[in-house]
Symmetry: C2
Subunit: 204 residues, 2 copies
């Protein structure tokens, strides 16, 4: 790409470092900003720097937070005896969006993936065991993706937690609500038959 302006080139290159944004898209974004008031670019720039500088990991659950303890950990209407273990903050947000969960979280920061050089020591597993011992947690829900790495992680974490005697569960797996059976993959469908649940008629 041939830029007549060094400043445009720099701004385009900055956007193009972001994942999934190529030079053409970057140029479109920069030209958009050039057509907006200067304040908008300034606010945009400030929001990015402030987020990068001031966001930290929650001391307890390792969720991203503006304060030492995140809003979820600070909320004393939530059930502190129940902790949901997830890979990343994105999973926290997805579960929060359901509005179905009122316990706390623990963000591992990934899953065990030897091929990518991620071992148990790189994840927040020790701190989870410590929390279970220190906080009187009664149940740990493993909400980890059902991939090979995810299953490995669940297995490893369950072994670490065994001595604490905490109750361990995983999120239910099966055919999606609204999904058509014929389009479900074989593994999911097969397991959903093996792990079938008793049907309760209304009023039971």
């Amino acid at each position: 790409m041939n830029f007549s302006s060094k400043l445009i080139e720099e701004a385009v290159n900055a956007f193009a470092t972001l994942p999934g944004i190529g030079k053409k898209t970057a140029l479109r974004l920069v030209l958009h900003l050039l057509n907006q008031p200067l304040e908008q670019s300034e606010q945009f720039a400030e929001a990015i720097v402030r987020a990068r500088r001031d966001i930290r990991a929650c001391r307890r659950c390792h969720n991203l937070s503006d304060t030492e303890l995140c809003g979820i950990c600070q909320d004393n209407r939530r059930d502190g005896r129940l902790v949901c273990v997830v890979e990343s903050i994105r999973d926290v947000m997805a579960i929060e969006d359901t509005g179905q969960y009122r316990g706390l979280y623990h963000v591992l920061g990934g899953v065990i993936a030897p091929l990518e050089g991620i071992g148990p020591a790189d994840l927040e597993i020790d701190s989870l065991v410590h929390r279970v011992e220190a906080e009187g947690i009664q149940e740990i829900i493993m909400a980890i993706s059902p991939t090979i790495e995810g299953e490995t992680t669940i297995f490893y974490v369950s072994k670490q937690l065994k001595p604490t005697g905490v109750r361990l569960s995983t999120i239910a797996r099966g055919v999606s609500f609204g999904g058509e059976l014929e389009y479900a993959d074989e593994l999911t469908l097969g397991r959903s038959i093996v792990a079938r649940i008793p049907y309760q008629t209304q009023g039971d």
Copy 2:
């Protein structure tokens, strides 16, 4: 979306104001920046603000520029008697990328589009006429998109330029190189037959 951090929410909202970027993509971009060194976010922020603050329109051709006259207008190896009229800076970049053109440019800033409230006075048409009169330009190449608005604009500009006596041309239109005839649209194919060009065998 349920954000546990106000700062993340602000950064996500900032990205989500950009065209074609929704909240989910914005979150992905913000989480990416959070994993990079602080300097990268600072450089990113600075590049945006500096571009917005310091980029101006070239005094002569209205291309975006870091200086009063853009790099193309300043380059005295280019042919100042030839001016290519385009809609936007993106077209300048596309033509520069071909490496086939050594004249100057004139950026109109859009095309005449009454439905969007863009009239001739909103475009750099008067300044083009002035340039033709003042700079001894011999040929104007209209490199405008072959849409209804584009054709209207070419017609209007040609009428404005008529008194100056400058030679006027449009870029050639026809079937793309490497394109298959059966996939060309009817209008393009039809016109490419009407406007056929004599075939020259090698060595003629």
